[in-house]
Amino acid sequence: MFKSSQTHDVRSYLGFKTVTILCLIILYTPLLVVTVYSFNASKSITVWEGFSLRWYADVFVGPESAKFKLAAWNSFVIAIIAATVSTVIATLAATGMIRAGKFKLRPLSFGLISLPIMVPEIVLAVATLIFFNSIGFQRGFATIILAHITFCIPFAYLPISARMQGIENTFEEAALDLYASKKLAFSRILLPLMGPGIISGFLLAFIVSLDDFIITNFVKGAGVETLPTAIFGAVKQGIKPNIMAISTMLLMVSVVMVTISYFISKSDKTN
């Protein structure tokens, strides 16, 4: 519960406002600069020469458009598959972890599921690459999908299990008591109640997969590019304003996702 007490209101602390504004500036100025300059008419990335949509046009019909379109297509396909599969696995994992009663290896299992979030991404990337090499798996589209599914699981798992923990056992018991089989109690009662958590888990996994660079760069096959690796490749040859246009569009995708997630949790009246 949130208890507002006059003596401990953080807003009364010295410099609260200043620090808050400073943090917001540091966080959002780079994003703001990129967004504003993506509408720049100039070829330069630092000199403002007026409003224009030329770099957005450049992304879609310019000389590099084919490369970016393919990379974007790859990214979205990978993100959708990885988020879907990891959400299914995470949902089953959460069901097992929280609904199967207490079992000996539960703390260990929880650790194993969430560990990948704590492990430095570069370590995961190298490990995944070595793994694929050692089993003789050809690097390509499939390796990216497998790697993404793997590292997306903990991200999907966290919101789902948090949601599941909030669902009291009595709902399932009531369903069983009212003659539902275990399967029906799951599909008719538990699953709909977990819905908001599952959607949040999916969206989080989707975003994490969409903007992953390090692991993708290690496990992708030659010639297969996702949006982040394509952007990195383009930036190596100098930053052009079209990169800013792409970044701004990616930012928009994230904003849309977060907004969806917000409205789902807001419209959820089950609590």
Binding site: E173, D177, L193, K269
Partner: protein, 362 residues
Amino acid sequence: MNKDDVAIQVKQAVKRYGTFTALKEISLTIHDNEFFTLLGPSGCGKTTLLRMIAGFEDVTEGSIQLFGQEIESLPPNKRPVNTVFQNYALFPHMTILENVGFGLEMKGTSKSEAQAKAMEMLELVQLSQFAKRKPSQLSGGQQQRVALARALAPQPKVLLLDEPLSALDLKLRKAMQLELKHLQRETGITFIFVTHDQEEALTMSDRIAVMSAGELQQLGSPREIYETPKNRFVADFIGETNLLEVTVDTIANDRATCHLGGGHQLTCNAVDGIGVGANVHMSLRPERLFISDTATESESLSGTVVENIFAGTDITTIVDLAEGPRVTVRTSNSDRGNKRIFEAGSQVFVNMEHGAARLMAN
């Protein structure tokens, strides 16, 4: 359905969680068409026993039979019993109508028929106008009635109620007590009601099983357990009572003469198993005592009034017996015409009828 038929037979049921024993060899018979209450303080095992009947907990030892059939091997969804949960457990994502129809639908009734029957049930609890709403849009009392309708809709043989009224305010609780009692009579379904509220148990039940620390203390009608409590726990838990430590001096003609601190003497009915010299407790119900300035009855104790407490329907008078324990006397406000209220400090006699005092083993 007949009251003589046995609905549920619990035979030496034991429930252990690891080394902790929640239920110690409980045996009891619940008749068909009966309003049966499991009463006891929290942690006495009453909810555990209810959950064992529902099928949410397995039986460590012993057996439970439902209409002569062993039910241990049946999962909860195969038992013809339904539960009203303490927190109601209404499905938040379904409408009231879908909630009430859920059990029938799961039993294989077609959706349209289930909804029609659910509507009937909602009419029975006077909530048909809320059929299309979600549970969160209803008040606590309304949710309670929906939970009741949902559990009754599949026409169970036995209805289990796990402290269903504990979340309601006093007025609503009283109204629901009567409604439940009527519903039980109308439907003829056996109700097993779990509560820690002794007043609720006395008001509603045909029979009450008083439990404490995983053991059955006494089983009987509300009148029996109130008027002839078997032991100190039951006497103390059911209603209010004065429990006085006494020593039995003599027993003659089924009457035991005892003394308590301060040299006070009292005679009461002898009890099997309590012999001369036994240090036991005597229970004196406050409403069976009355105060006057003379010893009007054969059984009388002298003392000083400490305080009078006004409590609406009655007045509670606290009396310190001379050099003895303190007793509480309750005088109904409607009796005030012929009973005096004595000011604090008055020297009085606490009188009681023959048989008001009861001896009980510890």
